[in-house]
Symmetry: C2
């Protein structure tokens, strides 16, 4: 490389996104980039000329190792959607002015669907204007809903955390017995795609029964049928554990979490009370069955738990970062690096680059045939798919009993 | 030992309670006990003659290692309070009949305040009746609220999980910036004692600012003053993170989580909607400040996260189990094993036995001087106290990417 590289992080954070950042930095340096810049808060920050020189942040090999173990977007992230080129060309002119000033040869953007839209628009604009800068996307999302790639870095670590946490929750739930039983409802991220919720099945094994029911947002959710299932299970066992997605909707398309607010929960200030999906269903269960209930939301913990990251995930995140730089250096633009699974057993996976126009804004859902007929569990095919992605550990670097993250005062 | 030993687990589960069980078993066997029985679901199960022969469960050294890494009560637990001897002597007669049948020489009960009440009553009864069986308690509780002991096994691992999770939540919260800022409220266990909530301070370090505010249940909580603090912080930084106890109450003694329900949250079925403390305060914040909020309850995860256990905690839990058997074998009864801190730096801690009559039903709270003047943070003294308890790790035994627990079909 003759010029410089700039890299940004965009969309919801994950436990692996910083490993991709480390991969971008290492490969850019190895291929001769003079400077590697990091956008602060993605393209939105870049528009305000907020960026850092990454050599000040990844100054040593230890810094790189810490970065791989640091959750959330080290550089800060954004949820900024670029306007269409014909809607507001001044935004593009501004971005390219900054890129020229910084002598940027390769622009790498680590993100999900919206971020790939950014790569698409910027590369289109560069081609129209005859600008030589290359734009390559690097996949990232806990939701695993990016098209064309077998899976997305960030997903494996979240899946490992979900499987482990579910197992611990299930163990805990069997310890104390209640007169009318206990129903635990665990709410997992995923508005439209059930990849994360399906990962609850990973808790199942020789030493754990796994959750009793798993509901993904891909299929309509019927509260009455759900209650029948819970009632039946509760007549057979003292503890029932349900894993479900925050995004489950009824047949009319109404989010289950909105069924609660529809019933006019208004607080003393007159504000509408927002209830989670699990909290709402626990109230219905407690009301109808009189049993003890527990609503557990895995919340941001599931995307930030770098202390329980998957080694496969962290390594692949690092690889796609490097592959993105390599692709740009070799002349690719308007592309995203994808992971291509070559084999399940032994698990083998390589990287390729694909046209970002085929990826952007397209959500990959869990296939219907990977969910059972009734819509209450995932199948063996789902398990075969997800299992390789959670293998291996990345030992946290413990300082005084707590995992250490990368932090520099200049950020 | 000439006779047999029986051991039970009682009260809320922890990540370390099974390490005490392993310690009891090992020491009982080493001291010559013929049989070591485990009560299923504590004294409540024993009354129904539910017990197992532990040699079938801890058959190998590997089983013992797995047991130390298994969260929640392996034998099952209960929340059963024995009636007073003069209230219902038949319960006592029944228990001693079973103990005699099993030739029990030592009765070890692993639990918190209520469990020590059981030890007290049973040892009193044995003395009155001239029964030779010895009754010794083994401390356990994530809440750390047992009197006379420096700290309680189970607390250190929960504290380590809370510190680590808070750090990950804080990192995550700074990644995306919102127009009017983001306030995250993390709700931590502890109805009356703030030991767990105070452990949020462990997230603080060279690489993390720690939470902005910490509220313990030991002091009255003022919603207006809290709002002033949040407003002030939000004017200076984009993300504010608050750690608070589920048990915080206002000056009148009303739980903050009840302030929400007082405002008549009733769902479509006419059931009172239960709101958590964090969820309630997030609604107040969002309503008054218009910012984004996030309520996170660490829920049962914080007491079951054996994948992130503290080595000091797991070892001490094992030691107190062994010490309880030794005490009983040496003739002690009506006693509880306590941990006695000899030094902070280097941390040194030994076991002693104390009279259970001085312990039972007495809650140890966080000293006033370990909380700052305003009641919004814990002091250095708190940190000095808790830090040694989270040191070192217990590597989970990973099978197929997920921590393995001990499970036998006979349980």
């Amino acid at each position: 490389m003759k010029g410089n590289v700039i890299v940004g992080q965009s969309g919801g954070p994950t436990a692996a996104i910083n490993s991709s950042l480390a991969g971008v930095y290492r490969t850019a340096k190895d291929r001769g980039a003079k400077k590697v810049y990091g956008m602060r808060f993605g393209i939105q920050g870049l528009l305000e000329e907020k960026y850092v020189d990454l050599s000040e942040h990844i100054a040593t090999e230890l810094d790189a190792e810490l970065l791989k173990r640091t959750p959330a977007a080290y550089l800060g992230s954004c949820r900024y959607k670029l306007p269409g080129i014909h809607e507001d060309v001044t935004v593009y002119e501004r971005i390219f002015e900054i890129l020229e000033k910084l002598d940027i040869e390769a622009f790498i953007y680590i993100g999900g669907n919206d971020s790939m839209d950014t790569i698409k628009k910027l590369s289109d604009y560069a081609i129209i204007k005859g600008h030589s800068c290359k734009f390559v996307g690097c996949p990232k999302t806990v939701d695993n809903d990016l098209a064309l790639t077998d899976h997305t870095p960030g997903y494996g670590s979240a899946a490992k955390y979900i499987g482990t946490s579910l197992k611990e929750i299930i163990r805990d739930s069997f310890c104390l017995e209640y007169d009318k039983g206990l129903v635990t409802v665990v709410e997992i991220m995923g508005r439209n795609a059930g990849w994360l919720t399906g990962a609850a099945v990973l808790s199942k094994g020789e030493d754990c029964t796994g959750p009793d029911l798993i509901y993904l947002p891909e299929l309509p959710f019927d509260v009455d049928k759900f209650m029948d299932k819970v009632r039946e299970l509760l007549s057979k066992k003292p503890s029932v554990v349900v894993a479900l997605s925050e995004g489950i909707r009824d047949a009319s398309g109404t989010y289950v979490c909105e069924l609660g607010t529809a019933a006019d929960y208004v607080d003393a200030f007159g504000h509408k009370q927002l209830t989670g999906t699990a909290a709402y269903l626990c109230n219905v269960i407690a009301g109808e069955l009189g049993c003890k209930t527990r609503a557990i939301e895995l919340s941001t913990l599931q995307r930030a738990a770098s202390h329980l990251a998957s080694r496969v995930d962290i390594l692949e995140a690092y690889q796609v970062g490097g592959a993105a730089v390599k692709a740009a250096d070799e002349g690719d633009t308007g592309k995203m690096v994808v992971l291509e699974r070559l084999s399940d057993d032994p698990y083998q996976c390589g990287t390729e680059v694909k046209d970002v126009h085929k990826i952007a804004n397209d959500e990959k859902l869990v296939p219907r045939e990977w969910i059972n007929e009734e819509g209450t569990y995932v199948t063996e095919d789902f398990l075969t798919y997800v299992k390789p992605l959670i293998q291996g550990d990345v030992s946290p670097i413990m300082v005084d009993g707590i995992p250490r993250h990368l932090f520099k005062h200049s950020i």
